[in-house]
């Protein structure tokens, strides 16, 4: 029988790794690490989780150990956060190039300096182009379930995947969690069958030099499998419903049928946007919500068909690519470009460094998007002393001193 427990997102992720029967967990155990691996170390030490727990001296080494474990045919898992994911970056590439279906949880923290334990999504989105699949959880339940869903797809396409969970709002908040029955998870997620073993009796070389006549094809296949993962996420999400009781999809809509104004969100703040969309409906505004769950592969076709013909689209980005726009807004504009009936996309940047994104915040954005005539790349919401709007025009930005003066 599934168990219902009151647990934090951190502990839910640890349960997700345990239910997935991860065989090797490698982690850096100090800041910015989370309680995910604290619980996993307890579960492995007590024997409840029959896995090898390896503590290492950095996140870079944590991923290197996962690469080794996965190469040897083990299901490997790690967790990190913020700067830790950044330090892991080089080995994230290795996991992709070596085609290893490692899964990690990233607790999304704002990047330092200034140091922060609070959430925004710039840490995980900085890994956009590495070739990892990416899912964004909204609830403690999803922080657990998406790990299982991700392994199911990762091990079919031989690509790694990361699950993003917003720091504090999910990681440190206790909510009801259904811990699935282990037999049911086993039925959903069979034992990992690696393509190749690390077997001294059958020696092979891994990660060697590749000349110009092979590298492009290797990368083409990565792209091809990432593309294929889009459909597999849909299928595996349906199977999740059949076997484990809740269907997951790469995109989720709320009150979209006749919506003229669509609000796009990802991660934990979506709960507040959903409530705001309901409040907008009560005020007679034809509003709807589109939640982006899968960021890589990006569900381009779904986004095009859902957003076509809407009057306006407002994207809430808890991240920013300075010099351009919010990153989800940028991705959605790019998906819509040149499509028939493409709506204008208004980019709103919210909640940087954990600033509270409230139901009222989404209502303020609604008020703004209803009257704003021209779409903007980046509209900032909640910067102290500034109304919702693009960068201030009269900014007294202090010019750099001439070089001689600086010396």
């Amino acid at each position: 029988m599934p168990e219902r427990l009151l647990l934090t997102g951190n502990h839910a992720a640890a349960y997700g790794a345990m239910l997935s029967k991860a065989e090797v967990i490698s982690a850096y155990p100090i800041t910015p690490q989370t309680m995910i691996v604290e619980l996993l170390s307890e579960l492995t030490a007590s024997g409840r989780m029959p896995a090898k727990f390896i503590t290492v001296e950095s996140e870079h080494s944590a991923m290197a150990a996962c690469v080794g474990a996965s190469s040897a045919g083990a299901r490997a898992y790690t967790a990190t956060s913020g700067q830790g994911l950044a330090l892991m970056h080089e080995m994230l590439h290795w996991a992709v190039g070596a085609r290893l279906p490692i899964v990690l949880t990233n607790v999304s923290r704002a990047m330092a300096p200034g140091w922060s334990i609070w959430c925004d999504q710039n840490d995980i989105l900085s890994q956009r182009d590495v070739g990892w699949m990416m899912l964004f959880a909204e609830s403690v339940q999803e922080a657990q379930d998406f790990i299982i869903w991700m392994y199911r797809v990762a091990e079919q396409v031989f690509l790694p995947g990361m699950v993003g969970m917003d720091a504090f709002i999910l990681s440190h908040t206790a909510e009801p969690l259904i811990v699935h029955d282990q037999d049911a998870v086993d039925a959903y997620l069979p034992k990992f069958e690696p393509l190749y073993d690390l077997d001294p009796a059958q020696p092979r070389a891994y990660g060697g030099l590749v000349n110009r006549d092979h590298y492009f094809e290797l990368r083409y296949k990565i792209y091809e499998n990432m593309d294929r993962a889009g459909q597999l996420l849909v299928e595996a999400g349906e199977e999740f419903g059949d076997v484990l009781g809740h269907k997951y999809t790469p995109l989720e809509g709320y009150l979209l049928d006749d919506a003229e104004y669509v609000f796009v969100s990802a991660g934990a703040m979506t709960s507040n946007v959903r409530q705001a969309v309901r409040d907008m409906r009560e005020k007679g505004i034809k509003a709807g919500l589109l939640r982006v769950i899968a960021f890589r592969p990006f569900p381009i076709d779904g986004i095009r068909s859902i957003l076509a013909g809407r009057r306006k689209v407002a994207v809430l980005d808890r991240n920013m690519s300075a010099g351009h726009s919010g990153i989800f807004a940028e991705e959605i504009r790019s998906a819509l470009l040149g499509q028939p009936d493409a709506p204008p996309v208004y980019g709103y940047i919210v909640g940087i460094g954990g600033r509270d994104v409230r139901v009222e915040t989404a209502m303020d954005i609604c008020d703004d998007v209803l009257v704003r005539e021209e779409p903007e790349m980046a509209l900032f919401v909640g910067v102290k002393g500034l109304p919702i709007g693009p960068l201030r025009k009269d900014a007294s930005i202090r010019p750099l001193q001439p070089l001689e003066v600086m010396r």
Binding site: W118, F168, H172, T173, A174, E175, S271, D356, V357
Partner: protein, 188 residues
């Protein structure tokens, strides 16, 4: 949806109080959230924790700061003077305070309801924490349950079994005695 804020000092058990109360409501079949106000946690420094409890019919849940709680739990009455714990409290809300003083002596304005209990004395008697720094969380929860009836005493005691890591029987007795000894003052 009922929103609660708990004020205490590092070492008094405010965070466990939030989790235990949420667990009690969760056992009673309600959707809940519990979270601490994350900061630099030191023994004796002010600590804040929060809980949300769904009411029948709530089908959407928010994930945002609690700014206007329905009720407060105050684990150390000196916080009334320094930490502005009443900020944002809704009219008619309960202020449940750990103090040996009666409710009408605290100078809390009449648009709130006040309940008091000497949780420190109860905790000391059951050797919860140390004499200098008693762990008062389970006692104050007993008083909170008495004042608000948001969960039953039985649910609270079961939640204590589940959440409190040590001296479970002593904590159950502390909660029960606090429940019985709470002084209520209704001023609205």
């Amino acid at each position: 949806m009922i929103e609660l804020r708990i004020h205490g000092r590092g070492g008094q058990g405010a965070v466990v109080a939030s989790k235990t109360l949420a667990q009690a409501a969760f056992q009673a079949g309600r959707y809940v959230q519990s979270y601490p106000d994350y900061g630099v946690e030191r023994r004796g420094a002010p600590v804040v924790a929060f809980a949300r409890i769904a009411e029948p019919g709530d089908d959407l849940f928010v994930r945002q700061d609690i700014r206007e709680p329905h009720h407060l739990l105050i684990l150390d009455s000196t916080l009334l003077d320094s930490a502005n714990p009443l900020a944002g409290l809704r009219n008619g809300g309960w202020v449940v305070v750990n103090t040996s003083d009666p409710p009408d002596s605290l100078g809390i304005v009449p648009r709130f309801r006040v309940a008091t209990v000497d949780a420190s004395e109860i905790a000391r008697r059951h050797q919860l924490g140390t004499a200098a720094q008693p762990v008062v969380n389970t006692a104050i929860l007993g008083a909170f349950v008495r004042a608000t009836s948001i969960v039953s005493l039985d649910d609270l005691l079961t939640a204590i079994d589940h959440e409190v890591p040590v001296k479970v029987e002593e904590n159950r007795m502390a909660a029960t005695e606090a429940f019985e000894q709470t002084q209520l003052e209704v001023t609205v």
